[in-house]
Symmetry: C2
Subunit: 341 residues, 2 copies
DNA sequence: ATGAAAGCGCTAACAT
DNA sequence: ATGTTAGCGCTTTCAT
């Protein structure tokens, strides 16, 4: 690989001038020189050495997509369409803006900090973290972050929080389920923080407004297993008999639960209704098609990167910002209308 | 961030010694010194600067996951479970082995070459390329590659080709379909190279052995659109009337086609049968559940990285290698048994 | 408009 | 066992 120094030697100018031409700071260089240098650059197929550039300039043009895994065995968050669509959006915008995307998945925050610092990432898209983890990371790795689906207010300058009106969205979903005649409804999630917590609150509000039970018993915890399995599907099956509808925190889980119940002999939606969340492409494809809440995961990813780039390139303008995307109830076939007689 | 030099200054040794301790070359250093240095390293929370390390050592510990997109608008290959499972496998193994994963998606080979060279990637997992593209890239970017699903023999030393017996697999699938009484069968793919081509050959062999038609007319080209759409679904619908079974080159497409046909009023499998390929989790979840060919995409990713690391760390042992994973026909409900009377 | 030179943090060959 | 030193390729400040 040819270096700037070599190019400079060939053309008979200094490395500074070559560097200036490479970076389009043409006003500093005479047109004739620009042309000469560009010709040689092309001829020798000059390719910058990014390590050298990063070392000298103290940036990296790396945007990290950082995913927190809850369990060590839970190794593949990508199979959830919400995550893959998000990642697609991130990748597209990042590359368009001249950034590279590094993907990292860990359950160890200390290790993560070193990772971010080692690579000197310019910014990160954070998926699956809770507020205190974000603070802890930010304390050491003070750089722009786009935080997906953390609901708490974050007292940080260089961070953009991207989410939904989760509480409202779930509230409307559950109202719809209730309006279909359901009275025994459970809420399924794999934890009780952030969006899961908010959606639970929305669930509970809708339930209590209707005078229905929504205590701890109505909260069913999903334990995701290796890939295609929910490790506690049997438990979910058993508990499902106490309800006529199961409201899940994602399409991905809804689809798993639906299948698990079907495999065990329950009919959906005849015996039991199921609702999802995300309106990922899964929800169209399963039968019955899922009643769900629409959100645009790809757009979340794109926006995350856009905001990240803005903060990276404009450090003075950094401030806390919260972006809330719209949601919409999508009614399909997985919630049965119960005869109200 | 504290540097090696500073650590050296604090402890009162040379940078070499610190570097040796960091890299565990402890036999070169006295136990007492090792301990002293490690204490300070910990105390000051030393984190290496990877740009500097890469520049000095001329490697990067980056494994690139490089995806070729066919069309510019086809921006999200991740939503195909085959790809996300593969990526999950790559990420897991890479991180375990101390490598970082950079994801890149392009349809421009020249740009790709510069990208690889700029980052000085140690190795790449190549997805969606044809042999001549691989050659063209290798000519400029001579480094280990794990090539997924290229069927041609590749005359290259530092490359590992990972695939299936695609032809056989599809042959058995189509024989199964024929054995269910189908005589009018079409094959659907989005191109006619590599695995798609091989599977087509397998399809044709099974058909011609049974004395059935399998010419160009029986090949239906899928044109993938933005995300959830096949842009030529109407055409597929029209042409579907000439067949009783549609054999698709992936579950992902099968599921799209199935839905598209259902939306247009055809019943699956009563009116028309559909088969997939991959045995991704989609195939379990749709109804009718897909008859498909099992393969382990995650394992492909893991193996890709394992082999890549071996080649990176052991340059003398580099050679061409072809790894073929097993497949298995998985019979579910999407192929109807036609009454043979 | 152009160049000289320092230095980013680290590695590794060589010396002691 | 430990230290010296010369880069790796680039950016950037400061001269000219």
């Amino acid at each position: 690989m040819v270096t700037i120094k070599e190019i400079a030697g060939i053309v008979g100018v200094s490395t500074t001038t070559v560097s200036n031409v490479i970076h389009g700071k043409a006003k500093e260089v005479s047109p004739a020189t620009v042309e000469k240098i560009q010709k040689v650059l092309k001829e020798y197929n000059y390719t910058p050495n990014i390590s050298a550039r990063n070392l000298a300039s103290n940036r990296s043009r790396i945007i990290g997509v950082i995913m927190k895994s809850q369990y060590e065995y839970e190794n593949n968050r990508f199979v959830d369409p919400f995550v893959s669509e998000l990642l697609g959006g991130v990748l597209k915008r990042a590359n368009q803006n001249g950034y590279s995307v590094m993907v990292y998945n860990t359950c160890d925050i200390q290790e993560l900090k070193r990772y971010i610092m080692s690579w000197n990432m310019d910014g990160m898209v954070m998926v699956g973290f809770v507020a205190e983890e974000i603070y802890s990371i930010q304390a050491v790795c003070s750089r722009p972050m786009a935080i997906i689906d953390v609901c708490d207010y974050l007292d940080m300058e260089n961070c953009i929080s991207i989410g939904l009106e989760d509480r409202e969205a779930m509230y409307h979903m559950v109202r719809h389920v209730i309006s279909c005649g359901h009275k025994k409804i459970a809420f399924l999630a794999d934890n009780d923080v952030n969006v899961d917590h908010e959606r639970k609150i929305g669930f509970q509000r809708a339930m209590s407004e209707a005078g229905l039970e929504a205590g701890e018993r109505e909260f069913i915890k999903i334990i995701p297993g290796d890939y295609h399995l929910l490790v506690n599907m049997d438990e979910i099956y058993q508990r499902s008999f106490a309800y006529t509808a199961l409201v899940c925190v994602s399409d991905y889980y809804a689809v798993h639960v639906m299948n698990g119940l079907k495999d065990r002999g329950r009919k959906v939606p005849e015996d039991i209704s199921i609702a999802g969340f995300d309106d990922s492409y899964l929800s169209h494809f399963v039968r019955p098609a899922l009643t769900t809440v629409h959100q645009d995961a790809e757009q979340k990813g794109k926006t995350a990167v856009e905001q990240l780039c803005a903060m990276i390139e404009n450090p003075e303008a950094r401030c806390y910002q919260k972006i809330v995307f719209p949601t919409e109830l999508v009614i399909r076939d997985s919630i049965r209308k119960i005869d109200l007689l």
